[in-house]
């Protein structure tokens, strides 16, 4: 009994520490003060001003860029990664091992190495940096994770199903569409979600590949903000909203997964 209380309170304290800064952001999203930590009375003005744009046009712009880059990068890496996983699964064992090793390089590389190496690539080819280079860079570090979430589904699948479809006269494409893809779908979905979150959360790689044409994503916007000395107050309600959305989403997914098991 004592053991349970002790272990429970250990987790409790850890969670409290992890959430303290987030609570601060949420609490101070309900006041107008410019500096985080000053309380100047309850107000919903910051929430209203995110949706009215205008004054903070650049913030909403950065948010859109982040979402669009995230969606394109996630979609592209899901397609590329799923194809690669199907290919890798059908390789000879030795080349399969080699491919899996190369696939982990972008995962093991700290993001600053990925960032610098891609920066040097674009610079030495004389490619001007902007939307395209950011998306290509994001596909580079997202695809390995898609491959890793699709491969286990392939391994778990009955390999005879695909062959049976071919024997029964399906063309390879029909067999892929009707047999393979439905089996791989859960892996593809979790790969897509993972790629999307990695992309919208990325800062370093984006900073090095975004160029200086004035394109901003949320993280480069916040970085520029922080260097100037303070956060745009509207970032507080924005973070609070994102946090609550993700919290609700994850709880719903968890609930549904639990129900399915019962």
């Amino acid at each position: 009994m004592i053991k349970r209380i002790l272990s429970g309170s250990y987790l409790g304290i850890l969670l409290l520490m992890l959430y303290a800064p987030i609570l601060i952001i949420i609490i101070f999203s309900f006041t107008e003060a410019k500096v985080l930590g000053n309380w100047t009375g309850f107000s919903l003005k910051l929430y209203a001003s995110i949706f009215h744009g205008g004054v903070h046009h650049s913030l909403t712009n950065a948010l859109w860029n982040t979402l669009i880059i995230g969606l394109i990068a996630a979609a592209a890496s899901t397609v590329l990664g799923t194809m690669a996983a199907i290919g890798i699964y059908n390789l000879m064992p030795r080349s399969q091992k080699a491919m899996q090793m190369v696939n982990t390089i972008p995962i093991l590389n700290p993001d600053i190495i990925t960032a610098i190496s891609l920066f040097l690539l674009f610079v030495s080819l004389g490619i001007s940096q902007g939307y395209t280079t950011v998306i290509l860079a994001h596909i580079t570090f997202c695809t390995p994770y898609v491959v890793l979430s699709v491969l286990p589904r392939l391994r778990r699948m009955n390999p005879n199903l695909y062959e049976a479809a071919l024997d029964l006269g399906a063309t390879p494409f029909l067999a892929v569409r009707k047999i393979l893809l439905p089996e791989l779908k859960p892996g593809m979905i979790s790969g897509f979600i993972l790629a999307f979150t990695l992309s919208i959360d990325d800062f370093v790689v984006t900073l090095f590949t975004i160029g200086n044409e004035g394109l901003e994503t949320l993280s480069t916007y916040i970085y520029a903000d922080a260097r100037k000395g303070g956060l745009t107050p509207e970032l507080r309600p924005l973070s609070a909203i994102i946090f609550i959305l993700v919290l609700v989403l994850l709880l719903v997914i968890n609930q549904r997964a639990a129900k399915k098991k019962l």
Partner: protein, 266 residues
């Protein structure tokens, strides 16, 4: 002709080709470029000058060593704090544990710069001075979930019959933990180390914010060199990071696939 194309695509192993080309162009060539830039000067001719600069101007080297120490301490603290948490979680009833794991991962969805600035506000509120202590706290705070998750994952998958066997053979709880549970969880710790150690060395922004620009880590040094246009020296310094990655990867042989698996945070 069309038939040939179709049979080519029909071989599913050929589906690897687009990704192989992509990896070659966006991963291998760029990494080779780091090596190329490290051994050339601004005009593009071969030189060792960038490497010699490590000794002639040791500031960057000092930052590197300092960052390695900070990363070692952070990693150690993350294991020390994270392991018990992962262990407790793995002993819980599955549904509750899952919910708590989600709660541990959730803060990562808030941009880390915003979280760091909020930590600064928290320290200001409690009148805690910013500095080395704040830096370590901020690092552990940022990277702890990356340590808890892989350890939890492997502890939870541990074969219970092995533990029961140890108990049946007369091991006391301490022995069961030290001789059975802990050794089996080492791959989880290894992937946690990969997820924490290297990223800490190369973070920038966090250190500056938490120490009011008093301490800089190696990531900042790299970024400054690239931004100031001294790409060749920046590349030479990146080479140090690449060597370190090679080293950790070698130490973790076999742990690699596990490290990758934990990427599945969802």
């Amino acid at each position: 002709m069309q038939r040939k194309v179709l049979t080519f695509l029909g071989r599913r192993r050929n589906w690897t080709i687009p990704y192989v080309l992509f990896l070659a162009f966006f991963v291998l060539v760029p990494m080779a470029l780091i090596v190329f830039y490290a051994f050339t000067n601004a005009e593009g001719s071969f030189t060792f000058a960038n490497i010699q600069k490590f000794w002639i101007h040791p500031e960057a080297m000092n930052t590197f060593l300092y960052s390695v120490v900070v990363a070692l301490i952070t990693t150690f603290l993350c294991i020390l704090i994270g392991y018990p948490a992962a262990y407790i979680l793995s002993k819980m009833e599955a549904r509750r544990a899952k919910l708590l794991v989600i709660l541990f991962i959730l803060p990562m969805w808030i941009n880390f710069l915003i979280r760091t600035l909020a930590t600064v506000a928290l320290f200001d509120f409690f009148k805690i001075p910013l500095g080395e202590g704040a830096l370590l706290f901020g690092m552990v705070y940022n990277f702890l979930p990356f340590m808890i998750y892989p350890i939890y994952n492997i502890l939870q998958k541990t074969d219970q019959s092995l533990i029961e066997a140890a108990q049946d053979l007369g091991a006391n709880p301490r022995q069961v933990f030290l001789k059975t549970v802990f050794p089996l969880s080492i791959p989880g710790i290894a992937s946690g180390i990969i997820m924490v150690f290297m990223p800490v060395i190369s973070t920038f922004a966090i250190a500056e914010l938490l120490t009011i620009n008093n301490i800089k880590l190696f990531g900042t040094t790299l970024q400054e060199n690239i931004y100031n246009g001294t790409w060749n020296y920046g590349a030479a310094l990146s080479l140090l990071m690449l060597l370190l990655i090679g080293l950790t990867a070698m130490l973790n042989r076999g742990g690699n696939s596990k490290a990758a698996e934990e990427g599945n945070l969802i």
